[in-house]
């Protein structure tokens, strides 16, 4: 057994990590072929139609808009405080809970509605020091320039 820290995915098959330079990561959701309802993470049946066999897996938009955020000064075990918790609204209508990277954990660090982009990154460390890898969001370069951050 090696002493090397392992990288463990939150869940296999929920997101795609770029395997070559220039490629972008994305989350994998599912969309109802009948009504268009889209869900993350992927689910087996459509809750609008309450029907199975209608959901198709597919990549979700990499960019969304900031719905809300706060700087948490207290967190569960494995999270270094302060850190930013947020909801990002994807164009598919999905509101996704996420942590934020790339800005200081300050109360004025972000603005409602600003453009955010997906990254795949370390979410926390487990009790053995392994890195738990999952989705996070950060302001897009365009949004940074626009908001002056």
């Amino acid at each position: 057994m090696s002493d090397q820290k392992q990288r463990i995915l939150i869940k296999e098959g929920w997101f795609c990590i770029p395997d070559a330079p220039g490629k972008e990561p994305y989350l994998i959701g599912s969309k109802c072929s009948q009504c268009g309802y889209t869900h993350f993470p992927k689910i087996v049946a459509c809750p609008v139609c309450r029907k199975d066999g209608v959901m198709n897996e597919g990549p979700l938009s990499r960019k969304g808009k900031l719905d809300s955020f706060t700087v948490a000064h207290q967190g569960p075990p494995g999270f270094e405080t302060p850190y930013i918790q947020a909801y990002v609204l994807l164009p598919e209508g999905i509101k996704i809970f996420t942590l934020i990277e790339g800005v200081e954990p300050l109360d004025n660090a972000l603005k409602t509605g600003q453009e955010m982009e997906l990254i795949i990154s370390k979410v926390r460390e487990d009790e053995n020091g392994n890195e738990i890898i999952g989705w996070k969001f950060r302001p897009t370069t365009e949004a940074r320039i626009k908001e002056g951050i």
Binding site: L66, S68, F69, A72, P76, L89, T112, G113
Partner: protein, 398 residues
């Protein structure tokens, strides 16, 4: 459905009781609720037991209700365990009500019990994180206080609420809690003290928020028509106890920052309809405010007023103890304490005391000045995505 009445209530003081187990806390509330009535305990046919976190905190994952009831001296009754995070014990009440209403049982005990303090704060925080979808929230850093903070931040942007408004409602509830012998925190606090306490997650400061707590609350219910056989006290009827779960968010892409209270409103509307009353009839309410500022959202959800009117409502002290419509006379979750699985029945106990005129220094007067006749409790549990996992509303009538 037969009408169902509450004939007995009882609760422990809420607080930090490292030496007490869920058995100790549970039996105390159970026997207090029995002694609150004149019932022969042998007439209790079933118990519905709500608990949220004992599995993680104490390791008592299974048969929680059976363990508690046996310790409390019961045998050979039906025992059903229910769980729904912070709404666990309102679910226990609802299940008991359905069983009595359907004529399956005549007299039923409903219990809510929680033990959150152990010798390891990180275990308590971890336990709370499991009241979410742990794969998409709890396991990746979600906290309840941050969710409430985000919701309140949106309200500030939309309705013009300020951090001072939040401190005012928190101070109101701390005052109410100071009059409640069952409350975890019985010290009144000024608006300044609350505003100046450390920020936990902006705009929420420490003294606006509930903290871990231990405690239990119990009620005895029976068929309305036989209630007089068990008690000489005013009989409190359950007008409605409604529940909604995993409300499907509107999947049309919405504007970022939009508020959506529909998941909270659904059981409220259903309860008003079932009880045949409206917001104008409510004389006292207990609102689920794990962080005191969320009480203000409750006014909107319950149909009391619009978001924009709330600063004026606070100014006019409408929801204070001597106002037109007192809210959280118990102190609410932040002052009374929020042992999550016991909170629902603690709300109900408070309202029963208020309706009977037994609430002591925190007794509200009601519209006529002769004590309230119609009361409402709003309770919610857990979060999945952006929505409460369980959303409930109970209406009681004297």
């Amino acid at each position: 459905m037969r009408e169902v009445a509450i004939i007995g209530v009882g609760m422990t003081k809420f607080g930090k009781f490292l030496d007490k187990s869920i058995k100790d806390l549970g039996q105390e509330a159970i026997w207090k609720s029995i002694h609150d009535t004149g019932i022969d305990p042998k007439q209790i046919q079933a118990a519905y037991v709500g608990n949220g976190l004992a599995g993680v905190i104490t390791g008592q994952e299974g048969v929680r209700g059976q363990v508690i009831l046996r310790h409390a001296g019961f045998s050979d009754i039906a025992i059903v365990n229910v769980e729904g995070a912070c709404a666990s014990s309102t679910i226990a009440l609802r299940e008991g009500m359905i069983a009595v209403g359907a004529g399956v049982y005549d007299t039923v005990l409903c219990l809510g019990v929680e033990k959150m303090f152990c010798y390891d704060t990180s275990r308590t925080l971890f336990a709370l994180s499991t009241d979410t979808d742990i794969e998409t929230m709890g396991g990746i850093g979600f906290t309840f206080v941050a969710k409430y903070a985000m919701d309140m931040r949106k309200c500030m942007e939309k309705y013009g609420w300020t951090q001072e408004h939040f401190a005012i409602v928190a101070a109101k509830n701390k005052y109410n809690g100071s009059l409640n012998p069952f409350a975890q925190y019985q010290e009144p606090m000024t608006v300044e003290e609350i505003l100046n306490s450390r920020v936990v997650a902006y705009p929420l400061t420490l003294y606006m928020c509930s903290s871990p707590a231990d405690g239990a609350a119990a009620v005895i219910i029976c068929a309305r028509k036989s209630a007089h056989k068990y008690t000489s006290k005013p009989i409190i009827t359950i007008g409605a106890c409604e529940i909604s779960s995993i409300h499907l968010p509107n999947f049309q892409a919405k504007t970022p920052g939009d508020l959506d209270f529909e998941a909270y409103e659904l059981p409220v509307k259903a309860a008003y309809e079932k009880a045949g009353v409206g917001p104008q009839d409510i004389e006292v309410a207990e609102v689920h405010d794990a962080m005191s500022p969320a009480e203000l959202r409750g006014y909107i959800v319950l149909g009391f007023c619009k978001g924009e009117e709330i600063p004026a409502w606070l100014n006019q002290r409408k929801t204070f103890l001597r106002g037109d419509l007192p809210v959280n006379p118990s102190g609410g979750l932040a002052a009374r304490g929020h042992p999550v699985g016991a909170t629902g029945l603690a709300q109900i106990s408070e309202l029963v005391w208020q309706l009977r005129g037994e609430a002591g220094a925190r007794q509200v007067l009601g519209r006529t000045g002769k004590g309230p006749r119609i009361a409402l409790a709003q309770n919610a549990g857990g979060f999945i995505e952006g929505e409460p996992a369980v959303s409930m509303c109970t209406i009681l009538k004297r």
